[in-house]
Structure formats: structure tokens, C-alpha cells
């Protein structure tokens, strides 16, 4: 075992740094550093820059236009993206749907959809959850009834992240009501422009509207948009979820978050001294930093073990639980560090409409982020569900 970086790895890091210095737009990284949401256009622009460099899909095999970096390279890349405040690449097409298509789609579908994902031609969203089907995802009711060369889809999805921007949604739909729950589900790609689809925003507790309800009324979907076999969608859905979970570990986000905590705590004064010099606060920060450094290594070990392109198994649940706890703890520290300046409503501060909030404090978004990131332990299979998966896998049968 050798925990120091090799000459090649150091050279790779420098290459990544050079690229980011040159190509990452300054106003975009400023936005990310301040905790502001990039616009749709800015997201698409950054997606295109990465694609032009050939670095958009580190998790894809080369044959599909991926990069095939090893685990250490991916780690270095992620690390540098976070350090330079690059925006998060929207994961639905690249990290979630892409791997499913590569493994389960027919050749025609692969040839059509995969290049479009890289080119950013489609903005994908995920239509899994329904009002009655959250943790118990397999109880979903949205129905797809075959009518010659079409399915007719009826039902409601909810919590659809960034559905307001999307032109495509990958959905789990019920194609057979008369079998065991998990056996009658199919995986369908649906064009959001099809008549009969309505998207309604849901405002979240931090005032943002990143999630939506999506309603389907007699929506016609060509059968060619079915991925894999009819009624086998549950297998694909679960495969996708393990991919979703690894990215939720969010080491890079936590590193950036920790730097933000320290920045605020160096500027904020407590008893006339920087808060960062307060032993009590410093101890809390150190504690979470220790957890983060270890998790970063756990993450590295797990990705190295999983062969390229393969989804990790129960370890992805472990990363999700620990990763979300660490990120939420960092959000909590940022909120506390800001003191009274955590109280103003974020959107005003975020929009820069209020220059009354002075920079060292520039704390506006921290409390909103703290509240928004309560979602990390809820979505993608809640932490309770992950713990059950871990127990069941490791102990057998444990619930």
C-alpha cells in the first residue's frame, strides 16, 4: 500500500488544475462559492465545456465516450472540481440513466440516447416517486397500458427534481397489476412535450422550487421508448439507484462546505477573536473534518474495488448514509458560524438585492442550505432504508 500520489497522478492533478483555471468561467465559480444556483444555461454551458474536453463522463466506459480513469484519477478530478467551485453536473442523464442504458438498452437506443446525453441535447429528470410510493417505491401506481405501438400513461409522479427544465423523463410505470408488485414495473423514457403532461412546481422550505409534481393524462409513449424488457423495470431501477447513491456521498461538496465553514469562522468574531480560534467551535470543525478525511478514503477504496462501469453494491448505501450525515453536519456548522447573520432569508441575500449583508459574514445562504440539505438523508432511498439494506445484506434477513 502506498498512500502518496505517484508522479503520474501529480501530473494528472496539474493537468486538471490547468484545465479548470482556463476553462471554468469565473462568474460561474463565484456563484457556486457563494452558494447560488447556476441557471439552466450556465449548467448547459459547463456541461458543454466538459464534453469538449472529453471529461464529461468519468464513470462511462470508453466505448460510449467515457474516460475510463482509475479510481485515484476520478478522486483527483472530483477533488479539483470542488476546490475550484465548479458547478455540479446535473446527474440524471450522465450518472443515472447512462449506466442503465449501457447495461440494459438495445443497440438502437444506445446509439440514439447516449451521444445525446453527452452532447447535452436532452435534460433528463427522474420519475420514480409518487405520493403513495416513497420508500415503498414498488407500490407505484402510474399505469402504462399497451395500445398497439404505444403505451398510454396515466398517473402522477412527485418530487421530480429540476423537472421544470427537463424535456425528457425516465419513469417507472406499472405495466402489470396482477403480479407481485415488483414484477409488473417497466422502465419508460417519456418526452415531456407530449400532450397530457403537466408539470407543477413544489416550493420547498428554503423558498426554492427545485422539485415538481408531474401529471400524466392519457400520454402516448412509443413502445420503442421501453428500456429492456416489459415488467423487468425493477431490476433496472435498483441498478440505477446504486449509481445514484454513490454520487450522494458528495465528498467534493463536503470539502467545499468545510472550506466555507472555516472561511466564515475566520471572519466572524466571537469575544473579539476569530470564531475559528474558539476551542469549542474549532473542536466541532475538527471532528467533522476527521470524519470527512476518512470517508474520502472509504470512498476511494470502494470505487477502486468496483470495476470500471460497475455499480458498487451495499457499499453505496454506506457511502450514502455517512456522506449525508457529514454534509448535514457541515451545513449545521456553517449556519452556527454565521451567528445572527444566519437569520436573514437567503433568497434576498443570494440575489445580491441586499448589500446590507456584509461580506465577511456573507452568510445569507447558509441557513437555507442547512434546511435544503435535510433532503440528503431523505431522497434516493432514505437513510433508514439504506440501513435496512446494509443490515439485510450483511446479516441476512435482518430488517
Amino acid at each position: 500500500m502506498d498512500l502518496s500520489y505517484s508522479q503520474e497522478e501529480i501530473a494528472f492533478r496539474e493537468e486538471v488544475q490547468g484545465f479548470l483555471k482556463e476553462k471554468l468561467p469565473k462568474n460561474l465559480s463565484d456563484k457556486v462559492r457563494k452558494g447560488q444556483e447556476p441557471t439552466k444555461q450556465e449548467q448547459e454551458g459547463w456541461h458543454a465545456i466538459l464534453n469538449a474536453q472529453g471529461w464529461l463522463a468519468p464513470n462511462w466506459p470508453i466505448e460510449y465516450g467515457g474516460v475510463q480513469w482509475n479510481a485515484v484519477q476520478r478522486h483527483i478530478f472530483e477533488d479539483e472540481l470542488a476546490a475550484h467551485y465548479a458547478p455540479r453536473v446535473v446527474p440524471f442523464g450522465l450518472s443515472m440513466l447512462g449506466p442503465v442504458l449501457q447495461k440494459f438498452a438495445n443497440q438502437e437506443q444506445k446509439d440514439y440516447w447516449l451521444p445525446r446525453i453527452l452532447a447535452g441535447d436532452d435534460w433528463w429528470c427522474q420519475g420514480y416517486s409518487e405520493p403513495g410510493a416513497g420508500s415503498d417505491l414498488a407500490s407505484l401506481k402510474t399505469s402504462a397500458v399497451k395500445d398497439s405501438d404505444h403505451y398510454i400513461v396515466n398517473g402522477q409522479k412527485t418530487w421530480t427534481t429540476l423537472g421544470q427544465h427537463a424535456n425528457m423523463i425516465f419513469c417507472l410505470v406499472r405495466t402489470d397489476k396482477d403480479v407481485k408488485q415488483q414484477e409488473g414495473i417497466s422502465f419508460l423514457l417519456i418526452d415531456m412535450e407530449t400532450p397530457g403532461i403537466e408539470v407543477r412546481p413544489i416550493v420547498l422550505l428554503d423558498g426554492g422550487a427545485e422539485v415538481n409534481e408531474v401529471w400524466f393524462t392519457d400520454v402516448k409513449v412509443p413502445v420503442t421508448n421501453l428500456v429492456g424488457e416489459e415488467n423487468k423495470g425493477w431490476t433496472y431501477a435498483k441498478y440505477l439507484l446504486t449509481h445514484e447513491r454513490t454520487s450522494i456521498a458528495g465528498v467534493g461538496f463536503s470539502q467545499a462546505g468545510l472550506r466555507a465553514v472555516k472561511r466564515i469562522a475566520r471572519a466572524e468574531l466571537a469575544g473579539g477573536k476569530p470564531l475559528m480560534k474558539n476551542p469549542h467551535f474549532a473542536a466541532r470543525v475538527a471532528q467533522v473534518e476527521i470524519d470527512l478525511v476518512a470517508m474520502s478514503m472509504t470512498n476511494l477504496r470502494i470505487i477502486s474495488k468496483a470495476a470500471a462501469g460497475q455499480a458498487p453494491g451495499v457499499e453505496s448505501s454506506m457511502l450514502k448514509v455517512k456522506g449525508s450525515i457529514i454534509r448535514q453536519e457541515i451545513n449545521d456548522l456553517a449556519r452556527r458560524a454565521a451567528g445572527a447573520y444566519a437569520m436573514p432569508f437567503a433568497s434576498e441575500a443570494i440575489e445580491g438585492a441586499n448589500d446590507a449583508l456584509p461580506d465577511p459574514h456573507a452568510a445569507g445562504p447558509v441557513a437555507a442550505q442547512y434546511f435544503n440539505n435535510r433532503k440528503l438523508s431523505i431522497f434516493g432511498g432514505s437513510n433508514e432504508i439504506q440501513r435496512s439494506i446494509i443490515a439485510k445484506t450483511k446479516m441476512g434477513g435482518g430488517k
Binding site: D136, L205, P344, E384
Partner: protein
């Protein structure tokens, strides 16, 4: 010991609870939250008529309460209903300081406060003071006929709606000195005073207040020059009791909503409350609620004691409510799943009130250190 409320307080609690459950539902509150002023003058006036503000002042001051337990009763109910109207700021802090230190002329305002016709704010915290009450840098220069105030006050809650501010400023010494701080009653329309407002995440509004050579007469000073520190500390203690009681009330609502949800939301064919992983966590929340209630009772009951006892119990309560509150808010959201994250659902607002309360009058860490200081000998 006797743990029963007096008959008067019991009546106050019943009246207030009934009024708020009739008049302050989620839809009403959400409308108030979205409004430009962030408060409802109708609710304010109606609650004043019910005697809610009067209950915050003692009989000598013109009210009919003013003790720790009066504050606790009123604010627990306000917290339970998630009320955003700034009773704490007008009634307990700024109004309280006028009542504690004011001369006859100044005390004439109390009647208007109790009637609900005068709004106030306490402009004390500064950008670099954090939770330290003596770290005042705003200066007061007495030139005989007028006093000139200059400085900047941070996150002054209710400043925009206020007719008058109670402003702290230093007449001598430097930031951190206990001596040298005075209080002044300053109408918000005074020349040189600017109020730049913004909404607060958990409801209501605050402002950055800039004082640029603001001239006030000597009669604007509350009490003796440079002697305001101990009155400020005592008033912040009262406000902390009120704040902790409010948080307790909000925690009750969070727990009630969560228990209800655990019994009705079904996943895997059964109510989620039947999953032990959730049931045990709900039990922990209920245990912490009882602890929080005890801490509030202790703080309220020791509010009239001498400083050492009073402050020890205040720091105890602020630390415990901060911890228990965070736990209850976070766990309530988690046990609800996605629905708790939506603005529309009552819990979202309640959880924000609970967590953000930690940012007033000192957070968990601040009061942990203070408790250590106050109990180390």
C-alpha cells in the same frame, strides 16, 4: 413545590390557545409570511386586546404579569401556533427596557405598547458582537445639549415596523467593557438613522440599522449614563425565557405533527410508526421534550432571582433547548420524509422557528461556555 399554573395564568393560556387555534392557521400564517410587512396588524391588535402584551409587564409597570412564568405561558402558546409577530421585540425587549429604566415621561409609552398601538425594536447587536452583550462599539457622544449616536446595528428584528428603537451605545470604555453602555429611545424617523430591511428565514423581518451622527436630546437616555449593562443582561434573560418557551411550544407542535404522521402515513402496507426504527426515535423526541419543558420551567422560575442563579439557569435552558430543538426539528423532518420539506406544510415553518431560535441571544456553544463559567466555582 407546586407545578400547577395559577388560575390567572391558566386562563391566559386557555384564552390564547383558543384564539390562536381559531385565528392563526397555516394558510393565514403563510399569507402573513409572504406579505411585505411580514406581520399582521390585525392579529397584533386582537392579541393586544386579549391582554397578551399586558401580561408581559408587571402591575407597577401598568400590566398584570411580567414574571418569568407569565412570559413562559404566553410564549409557549405563540410558539405552538408558530406566530411570527414580534411580541418578544416590542413587549419583552424594547418595551421591557423602557419599563425597567424609564422615568415618568418615558414610561408613558408603556400604556400605548400594552394597547398595541406602539411598535418597538431593540437595536443592540452589531456586526462583530456575535452573542456578546457587552461588545458595543456604537458611540454616544454627549455634547451637553444633544447626544450624537454613530454606529451600525445588525439584524435588528422588527426595526422597519417600529416607531421607536431602543439603541445601545457606548459613552466610555471599549468593546467588551461592562461599564460605559447606555440606552437611548430613538424615533425611527430621526435624521441620520437608516433602516435597511430584509425578510427572515423563519418569518418576520429584520434590518441593518445605521446611525450616522444621529442627534437625540439627553432626555432620550434610559437610566444613568453608562450603567445599562446589567439591565440589558436582565432583559435578555427575560427574552431568553420567552424564546425558550416559544421553542418549547414549537417543539410540541413538531412532535404532535410527527406522531400523527407516523400513525397515518403508510409504506410497505403499514403505518410507518410501526417500524421500530422510527418508533424509538419518536420516543427519544418525547423524552427530550420533557427535558426541554423542565429547562423552561427552571429558567422561568429563576428569572426573578439574583444574577448568578438567574443566568446559570438561562444558559442551561438556552443550551438544552438548542440541542433538543435541533434534534426535534431534524428528526421531525426526517420521519416525515419529503413532505416535511415543502413550504406549504406546517412543519416546515415550525422546524425553521425551532432551529433559528438558536441564533438569538446565544447559541448552544455560547451558552455551554457561559454555563461552564457560571458554575466553575
Amino acid at each position: 413545590m407546586n407545578f400547577e399554573l395559577t388560575q390567572e395564568r391558566q386562563m391566559l393560556q386557555d384564552t390564547l390557545r383558543r384564539f390562536l387555534s381559531d385565528r392563526y392557521d397555516t394558510a393565514t400564517r403563510n399569507k402573513i409570511l409572504e406579505s411585505e410587512t411580514g406581520l399582521s396588524t390585525t392579529i397584533w391588535t386582537e392579541l393586544a386586546e386579549l391582554g397578551i402584551i399586558g401580561a408581559l409587564f408587571s402591575e407597577e409597570q401598568g400590566g398584570f404579569g411580567g414574571k418569568g412564568f407569565d412570559l413562559a405561558v404566553v410564549f409557549e402558546e405563540l410558539g405552538r401556533a408558530g406566530v411570527v409577530e414580534p411580541f418578544l421585540d416590542t413587549g419583552v425587549l424594547a418595551g421591557g427596557l423602557i419599563a425597567d429604566l424609564g422615568n415618568e415621561a418615558q414610561n408613558a409609552h408603556i400604556e400605548e405598547i400594552i394597547a398595541g398601538s406602539l411598535h418597538l425594536a431593540f437595536a443592540h447587536g452589531e456586526p462583530s458582537s456575535r452573542y456578546d452583550l457587552t461588545r458595543v462599539q456604537t458611540s454616544a457622544i454627549d455634547s451637553g445639549d444633544t447626544i450624537a449616536l454613530s454606529g451600525r446595528k445588525a439584524v435588528v428584528i422588527n426595526a422597519e415596523a417600529a416607531d421607536m428603537l431602543v439603541v445601545s451605545a457606548r459613552e466610555s470604555g471599549e468593546a467588551g467593557d461592562v461599564g460605559g453602555i447606555s440606552l437611548f429611545v430613538v424615533p425611527t424617523i430621526t435624521k441620520g438613522l437608516t433602516v435597511q430591511g430584509y425578510a427572515l428565514l423563519a418569518g418576520g423581518r429584520a434590518a441593518e440599522v445605521t446611525l450616522d451622527d444621529v442627534r437625540v436630546p439627553a432626555s432620550a437616555r434610559l437610566g444613568e449614563p453608562g450603567q445599562a449593562s446589567s439591565a440589558i443582561e436582565a432583559r435578555v434573560a427575560a427574552a431568553s425565557v420567552a424564546q425558550c418557551a416559544e421553542t418549547l411550544g414549537a417543539m410540541e407542535t413538531a412532535c404532535a405533527l410527527t406522531m400523527d404522521y407516523l400513525g397515518t402515513r403508510k409504506q410497505f402496507g403499514r403505518p410507518i410508526g410501526t417500524f421500530q426504527a422510527l418508533a424509538h426515535r419518536m420516543s427519544d423526541l418525547l423524552i427530550e421534550m420533557e427535558q426541554a419543558r423542565s429547562a423552561v420551567i427552571l429558567a422561568a422560575g429563576h428569572l426573578e432571582d439574583e444574577r448568578a442563579d438567574r443566568e446559570r439557569h438561562i444558559s442551561l435552558a438556552k443550551n438544552l433547548l438548542g440541542r433538543a430543538g435541533r434534534l426535534v426539528a431534524e428528526e421531525s423532518i426526517q420521519l416525515h420524509g419529503g413532505i416535511a420539506m415543502t413550504q406549504e406544510y406546517e412543519l416546515a415553518h415550525i422546524a425553521k422557528r425551532i432551529v433559528m431560535a438558536d441564533h438569538r441571544f446565544g447559541d448552544v456553544d455560547h451558552h455551554l461556555e457561559r454555563f461552564i463559567d457560571l458554575t466553575s466555582d
